[in-house]
């Protein structure tokens, strides 16, 4: 039972263009959502998060959008840079605890 799904396993984008990563969830009790970035042979690192009371959060080149009615969130990276090439994981948790439920990840390749 995958409560958090990332349906696109990979994404290729030209440097300077926008990368859009999508994530869907099924558990309506989730109220906090995060994106993590992972390079090979390293642990995931926190990128950006959003609370369910918001529909958008922006941090530099990274913006996360949340559509609660559709149980969908997306991560926009603009402009994409070669250093953004990594696996991106969407994660969610319910209030009152920090146990994160992760999606399967999307591998992003930014071509110079």
């Amino acid at each position: 039972d995958q409560q958090v799904k990332q349906n696109s396993p990979s994404l290729s984008v030209q440097e300077g263009r926008i990368s859009i990563l999508n994530c869907d969830y099924t558990n309506s009790m989730f109220d906090y959502f995060l994106w993590y970035k992972k390079y090979p042979a390293e642990g995931p690192t926190f990128l950006i998060s959003i609370s369910s009371i918001k529909d958008k959060n922006e941090d530099g080149r990274f913006t996360v959008f949340l559509n609660k009615s559709a149980k969908h969130l997306s991560l926009h990276i603009v402009p994409s840079q070669p250093g953004d090439s990594a696996v991106y994981f969407c994660a969610a948790h319910k209030g009152g605890g920090n146990k994160l439920t992760f999606g399967g990840g999307t591998r992003v390749l930014v071509k110079p």
Partner: protein, 115 residues
């Protein structure tokens, strides 16, 4: 060090052997988590420790898996009678809050290969 430290970084073992994986969390972090990532898969929750509370073991896949956290700091994940399907990267993470923003700090992982 400043980050989460895990050892060993790589472990190759034979089917049926027991293995122990160690995690040293960030100093002062009260919460500690174990996840695993099988090849091509997402991160699967295994177990969660928070201070002196009873651990959340709901993600452990079988009774061959156990974990302990001594003195509220270092944790050891033990897998008994390893099977080939246990092959994965085992990731440890820590955080400083009980019900915060969910930002976990991960170690680099222990890659387990069961032959």
């Amino acid at each position: 060090g400043a980050g989460v430290s895990q050892s060993p970084s790589n472990k190759v073992t034979e089917k049926g052997k027991d293995v122990e994986l160690r995690c040293d969390p960030i100093s002062g972090h009260t919460a500690l988590y174990w996840y695993r990532q099988s090849l091509g898969q997402g991160l699967e929750f295994l177990i969660y420790f928070q201070g002196n509370s009873a651990p959340d073991k709901s993600g452990l896949p079988s009774d061959r898996f156990s974990a302990e956290r001594t003195g509220g700091s270092v944790s050891t994940l033990t897998i008994q009678r390893t099977q080939q399907e246990d092959s994965a990267v085992y990731l440890c993470a820590s955080s400083s809050s009980w019900a915060g923003t969910g930002e976990l700090f991960f170690g680099e992982g222990s890659r387990l290969t069961v032959l």
